[in-house]
Amino acid sequence: MQILDILSKIKQRFGATDLVWIDDSGAEPYLAIPRESLRPVALFLKEDPQLFFDTLMSLSGVHQIGEPEGLEVVYHLYSIRRRHRFIVKVRLERPLAFPHFYLRVDTVSDIWPAAGWMEREVYDMFGIHFMGHKDFRRLLLPPDWEGYPLLKDYQEPATYQGISTSREEVEPEEQR
């Protein structure tokens, strides 16, 4: 199916109000949806017999700085049976206070089990919480790590468990 047909199917089902279709030049077109409608859209995409998006290719987080400031969760979907792909993005505003309350997205790990680990990685790197995830904790970094590294304004911590992370203090008198 062509992408615009898929888009029209989704708009038919969900109404065109808060689903924003972005088709800039130079990029692949994607559908930006608010976070409340993620789960219904995801279920529809997976189970509709004409769409049948059975594989989640990639689930990534992006920290956009500049005019549309905020975090995005990008879902690249693919259907092996129907041979079409689609991109869905959920935009989140990065709040000044109470980040954990606002950076919340519903999990899709029961729809696409691959999302289980991918969502853990997004949490690890960006700090976005996925509600309803069965085994939600950091994946790649140690569990007591502070900070979310892939944010653009991430400061590396000066020490980790008492060990300094900068070179001069670690090897003070060693000849180099």
Partner: protein, 371 residues
Amino acid sequence: MPLTTEEMILNMGPHHPSTHGVLRFILRTDGEVIYSCHPDVGFLHRGLEKIAEKVSYAQFMPYTDRIDYLAAMNCNLGYAITVERLAGIEVPPRAEYIRVMVAELNRIISHLISVGTFALDIGAVTPFTHALRERERVNDLFEELCGARLTYNYVRFGGVAFDLPAGFLEAVSSFLDYFEPRLAQFNRLISKNKIFKERLWQVGAISAEDALGYSLAGPNLRASGIDWDLRRDESYSVYADLDFEVPVAGTEFGQIGDCYNRYWLRIREMEQSIRILRQCVAAMPAGPFWNRSKRKLKPPPGEIYVRTEAPRGELGYYLISRGDDRPYRMKIRTGSFTAMSIVEKMSPGLMVADLVALIASLDVIAPEIDR
């Protein structure tokens, strides 16, 4: 009254000769049968995605080698194709054929290590040394070509870094002539061995729904019965002009989706790679090998997701560019990442020896998981 046995929490720790790279599994077991298995990854996390935001496009190419060092050419190739598609760079045909040739050679040696370490985990030591012996020949070829044996940094945007040296195509042909009977000998030694079959038959069978749901890719997906190969179905480079078969699981190799099927799939993929290589060697066109641009590469603003078929599955690069000379966001999606996520689901009910076989059959490698 049923017998109660105590439950042990065992740590198949980061230092372990069986795990493929630095991986850790926390097992809850009663001595033999596993109740649950929690993989703990992240020991090899080097922050490649963060590094990509700091270095320029060309400077990131050596880092892509280290995503999967056993299949470095394929990782290089995927990255190069991603950036070329975003920036609209053309690649001359000779470079395309050279790229396919080195990618397939790399596929052969990556699968050699995979089946060799698989046999080693099951207990047979000799096949591993034989696989490494064949790998040495290809390492010599690559050394002649680009100077490195493991992390090549050979593919460039718009072509490849160096032209083929004189006599390289003959050397590749003679390697293929040498390798085909060796592969048959390898099969006689271990692939058809009765004990080997008994260990792997119907062990760790992953159904097709599970494989799709967990986004397994590459040989793992095809071993569960799904006929999907990026080289044929979402063709990139010159794979569309080459004639090859895509092996899919068969019931003569055990249950669909079990470890034996995954093992045999890699052997059959090696045979198909030999076929592709012969065609590349025969059809190698003359011409320029690098469409080099004089200016620093600044792709136009946009995003793109490109995936290629690496030996361990699907290697996807999601690249967001904002018009300057370094990526804004680079997300690397690897085949081993999703393969590792399915271990937790498949493990209850397996014995410890079967868990080792399962991990070895999924062909996970730690740097791909952790990046």
